[in-house]
Chain length 377, copies 2
C-alpha cells in the first residue's frame, strides 16, 4: 500500500542533523530543523530551518505543530514540550520518557541496574561534599547527572586528595574499571518491533580531551565478545521499547566482561563510518526506524576507520582545512566537513572515514591523515 | 597548502544535480543551481536556487557572474554564454567547446572518427528526403543532431518503407549494429591530467522506450573486452583534454568488438549505482574532477544493479510511490526518489540501487523490486 512519508521536525541542526538530512534525500524525506545558531550545519540543507532554542518549552512546542513526526539529533532538549506534543497525538521518536531517562546519567545507570544489564558499580551523589562518604569507592569517575557531553562533565577522582577537583553538583561516582577496550554498538528498532544492530566497533579516546579520537570497524574482538556486545544492545533497546537509533558505549574489561558505559538515543560519533563502510548508514537507519519503515542491512565487508577532525589548539576563528587535497589523494580516504564557520580548540569540525582491506591498512592511512589534515583559523 | 573550494554554479537542477548536491555536502561544497522549474529536484537543496532558463544567453551569463566555477548537469545549455564566461576568466568545466562538440551527435561522431575511435559507420544527413540517398546503408538508426535525450530523437529506419517515419531534420544515419551487449564506462579527468575510470557496466534497455531500464555492475565480459572498453574511455577523455566526468556508452558487437555509441559529459544514468556500490560515487568524482582535487578510488567489491523508476503509463499527476516499504524490506535494496512533484508516463521519477553478492542475486532482487514498486498518480 502507498503511504506518505511523515514530514519530520528535527530538534537540533548540528553535524548529526546534517548527515541525517543528507541521508534523507534518497527517499525524499522532508526534514526541517530547529537550532539556535542561524548558521548551524543544517541551515542550508533543511527543508525548513527555524532559528530558536530546542531547550525552550514554547519554541519546541510551537515548532512541533508543523510536522507529523518529531525527532532529535541531540538529547538535551525540552522534554516537557515533547511530552505535550506526544500527548496531543504527534509522533515523537525516540519517545520523550526515554529521552528523560537518558538525559540524566543517574536514571540511565538505574535503568541498567533495574533491568539487570551489566554496568560498572556506582553511587549516586548530590554534591562534592558527598564524595567524602565514598572514599572506599575510589578510584572512581565522577559524572554529572545532566549537561555533560563530548567528554565534558566527567572527572577522575583517583583518591581522597582529588575530591577538591570534583564537580559540586548532582551526579554519580562510577567505579573506575580497568578496561581492555571501549566498544560501541549502534542498534535500531522500529515501531513494529524490528531490531537490527550494526557490528561492534572499537573506540580509541583522546587521552586528554576524552573525545573519540579514532575508531575502527569491525572491532578486533572474539566472537563471544561480539555476541555479548550485540546482545546487550539488542536487549536494551527491546527493554526500553524505544523507536529510533540507540548508540550503546561499552567497556570490555580485562577479564572479558562487557559492561554498558552509557547510551545516546540518536546517530552517534561511533557510527560515522557506516556511511561509507556499511550497507545501510546509521543515518538512513535512524530515518527508517522513526518512519516505521523496514530496517536496512547493517553488514559490512570492509575494514573502516573514523578520525574526528578537531579544531587545532591555539586556533579560534574562521575555519581553514589544511591538507585536504593531499588527504584526498589517498585511496579510501573520505573527509566530511561539517560546514561550521568558526573553529575553536577541540571543536568537532569534521571527520574522516577510511576504508581499506585490512585493519593494519586502516591504521596506517589514519596515521597518514592525522599528519596531513589540520583544522586551523 | 590550504585552498578554498570554488563556489560552484550548476546549470540544471534535475536529479543528477540533486545527487551532485548530496555528494557535495561531504566536503561542504557550495553549489547553486539554475533551472527553469521552480520546483526542480534541486530547489530545496541548492546553496542558492535560481529560477531561469539554462538555454538563454543572458540568464546563463548573469548566473555565472556569482560563482568561481560553472558546471553542468545537462548538456543542452547555452554554450555561447559559457564561452564568454570562460573568455572572461571563469573556470567552466567541462569546457564549453567540448559541450558544443557533444551537443550535436554529428560532431560527436566526427570527433570519434577523426581521432580513430571505433564507432559504427554513419552518414550525415540534412533532412528526411536525404535518407533516400542512403537506401544501401539501411537498416540504420536515424539520430537527430541536436535535442535528443533519453531515447528521444532516435528512430530505426529498417528499410525504404520506413523512411516516412524518419525525422525531417539535420542528423545522421548510423549503421544498425548487431550487438551482444550495451556497455558503459564512466571516466573522470582533472585539470592536472589525472584520469580514472569506473569498472564497465552493462545496460539493458527498455525495448520500446529506449531508456536504460536495468543496469548491472560489473559487466559480465571477458578481461579483454573490459580492457578495450576502459581503454577507449580513457583515451577519449585524454584526447578531448576534458576536465570533468565523461560517460561513454558502447556496443559490444557479436564478434567481440567494442564500438563507441555516444557520450555524455556529466554524471550519467549508468553510474547511479556507484553511490552504493563503489568506493567513490560518480557524483563525488565529478566534483573532485572539476574542483582540481585528486580523483577517488573507483573500485567495487560487490555486484550491483540499478533499476530506473519510471512513471507508470496512464498516470499523470501528483506522484505516489507504491510498494516502497515492501521494497525496503529486501536487504541491499535502496530506492532513490527524485523529489519531482508530478509523474508522467515513462518520466524518470527515481531509481533503485541493488547490492548483492552475486549477479544472480542482483537480478533476482531486481525482478522482485520491479513487481513491487509502482510510480503512479
Amino acid at each position: 500500500m502507498y503511504r506518505d512519508l511523515p514530514k519530520i521536525g528535527l530538534l537540533g541542526g548540528g553535524q548529526l542533523g546534517r548527515m541525517l538530512l543528507q541521508a534523507g534525500v534518497d527517499l525524499d524525506f522532508q526534514i526541517s530543523c530547529l537550532d539556535p545558531d542561524s548558521e548551524a550545519p543544517c541551515h542550508r540543507l533543511a527543508y525548513e530551518f527555524k532559528q530558536g532554542s530546542f531547550q525552550d518549552f514554547d519554541t519546541v512546542y510551537q515548532f512541533g505543530q508543523f510536522y507529523d513526526l518529531i525527532s532529535i539529533e541531540i538529547e538535551h532538549v525540552n522534554i516537557d514540550a515533547l511530552e505535550k506534543l506526544e500527548a496531543e497525538g504527534k509522533q515523537v521518536f525516540p519517545q520523550p520518557h526515554l529521552l528523560r531517562m537518558i538525559q540524566d546519567k543517574r536514571t540511565q545507570k538505574q535503568f541498567f541496574q533495574q533491568y539487570g544489564f551489566p554496568t560498572a558499580d556506582f553511587r549516586l551523589i548530590e554534591s562534592r561534599e558527598e564524595i567524602k562518604e565514598h572514599i572506599d569507592f575510589l578510584p572512581a569517575y565522577q559524572k554529572l547527572g545532566k549537561g555533560g557531553y563530548d567528554g565534558k562533565g566527567v572527572q577522575l577522582i583517583a583518591h581522597e586528595g582529588q575530591i577538591s577537583d570534583g564537580f559540586d553538583a548532582p551526579g554519580l561516582l562510577e567505579k573506575a574499571v580497568e578496561f581492555e577496550k571501549e566498544l560501541a554498538v549502534i542498534v535500531a528498532r522500529n515501531i513494529h518491533g524490528e531490531v537490527k544492530a550494526f557490528p561492534t566497533v572499537e573506540m580509541v579516546f583522546h587521552p586528554v580531551q576524552n573525545l573519540v579520537e579514532f575508531l575502527i570497524s569491525p572491532a578486533a574482538i572474539s566472537e563471544d565478545v561480539e555476541k555479548q556486545a550485540v546482545d546487550i544492545a539488542t536487549r536494551l533497546i527491546q527493554e526500553m521499547k524505544m523507536v529510533g537509533l540507540l548508540a550503546v558505549e561499552m567497556f570490555l574489561t580485562k577479564d572479558g566482561q562487557v559492561l554498558i558505559n552509557e547510551v545516546a538515543p540518536r546517530p552517534h560519533n561511533s557510527g560515522h563510518q557506516t556511511i561509507r563502510a556499511n550497507m545501510t548508514s546509521q543515518y538512513e537507519q535512524h530515518l527508517r526506524a522513526i518512519a516505521g519503515l523496514p530496517l536496512g542491512d547493517t553488514s559490512t565487508s570492509v575494514f573502516a576507520g573514523m578520525l574526528n577532525l578537531l579544531g587545532e589548539p591555539g586556533h579560534t576563528g574562521k575555519v581553514k582545512y589544511e591538507g585536504l587535497s593531499e588527504a584526498l589523494a589517498i585511496p579510501g580516504v573520505f573527509p566530511f566537513l561539517y560546514g561550521k564557520k568558526i573553529t575553536k580548540p577541540f571543536r568537532k569540525m569534521g571527520h574522516v572515514s577510511i576504508i581499506a582491506e585490512s585493519r593494519e591498512a586502516v591504521e596506517e592511512k589514519a596515521n597518514q591523515v592525522k599528519n596531513i589534515i589540520r583544522v586551523i583559523s
